[in-house]
């Protein structure tokens, strides 16, 4: 299953410790306002990378969902975005959302559309992100935290 793990060898600690310099956008999410900031920065970066306006909006929306999840469930965490412009298969934007929150016990359940533990929500957060993006992987450990790695490729036409 794609959404279980990135790969067996994903070093979750390395993701948590990854330095800000490795990314084009690095935002700490700790307050509610940070969600809107993350959204705006993602939008700007996607625009610079030459994505279509529709894809820019999809990327910004996905970042908004990820940032809100961090804020709601883990209180704090971070969003990191990287432009990979000379990827073999074309320009690519990678988003990593990580937190040291409570973690997710039932990943399959969380990925189900309509499932939510939060009162004010449609329950399409994570499954929505997966639909909007081209690649999606989630790694989570109860008590340690959650990492979501997701990306979108710029369309050739």
């Amino acid at each position: 299953m794609l959404h279980k793990k990135v790969d067996e060898n994903l070093d979750i600690d390395r993701v948590f410790d990854s330095p800000a310099e490795d990314f084009d956008v690095f935002i700490r999410i700790a307050r509610e306002e940070d969600i809107a900031v993350a959204r705006q920065m993602a939008k700007q970066l996607a625009q610079e990378a030459g994505f279509s306006l529709a894809d820019v909006t999809k990327i910004a929306t996905a970042v908004s969902e990820l940032a809100r999840n961090i804020y709601r469930y883990a209180k704090q965490g971070r969003i990191m975005i990287k432009k990979l412009l000379d990827d073999r298969e074309g320009p690519y934007l990678e988003i990593i959302a990580s937190d040291n929150g409570p973690g997710i016990a039932e990943i399959d359940l969380v990925m189900t559309r309509g499932y939510t533990t939060y009162e004010r929500s449609l329950g399409i957060g994570l499954s929505g992100v997966k639909r909007l993006m081209d690649t999606f992987a989630i790694y989570s450990e109860v008590g340690r935290g959650t990492v979501v790695i997701t990306g979108k490729r710029r369309r050739k036409f």
């Binding site: 306002e33 909006t57 910004a60 004010r120 449609l122 929505g128 909007l132």
Partner: protein
């Protein structure tokens, strides 16, 4: 249920006959969305409007939380006897909402203000 006592105004609300026109021209962060809902409901109560038109032409990102709050506001407005019309959704936003699988319940969608007035005017009293 907490009482709606706040008088915080985050958007301008224009009274147009029996309708309320709410142009949303601010970046919708979570707090603002909550305040927006409160303000709209208060204005509906005080004006006894029969339809409220939310104009989102200037909104460039609508995520699941914002769309949920809009649906929720519409459901609340309906219980107060007021119909909700959403107008001016931008094409990229429409594509994003559709791809996420968002459905807007209790809410009519209009192309532009003219169309919104038409929907609000011709069908209110029914819903």
């Amino acid at each position: 249920m907490k009482k709606l006592i706040s008088k915080a105004r985050v958007v301008p609300v224009i009274c147009l006959g029996d309708f309320l026109l709410v142009p949303i021209q601010i970046d919708l962060d979570d707090r603002t969305v909550g305040l927006l809902q409160q303000q709209v409901l208060e204005e509906i109560e005080s004006t006894r409007a029969r339809a409220v038109i939310l104009d989102v032409r200037m909104v460039d990102v609508i995520d699941s939380y914002i769309s949920y709050t809009i649906s929720e506001t519409a459901a609340m407005a309906r219980l107060m006897g007021c119909r909700t019309v959403l107008c001016g959704i931008q094409p990229p936003v429409a594509l994003t909402l559709a791809q996420m699988g968002v459905m807007l319940q209790d809410i009519a969608v209009a192309r532009d203000l003219e169309h919104a007035l038409l929907i609000a005017g011709s069908q209110s009293g029914v819903g």
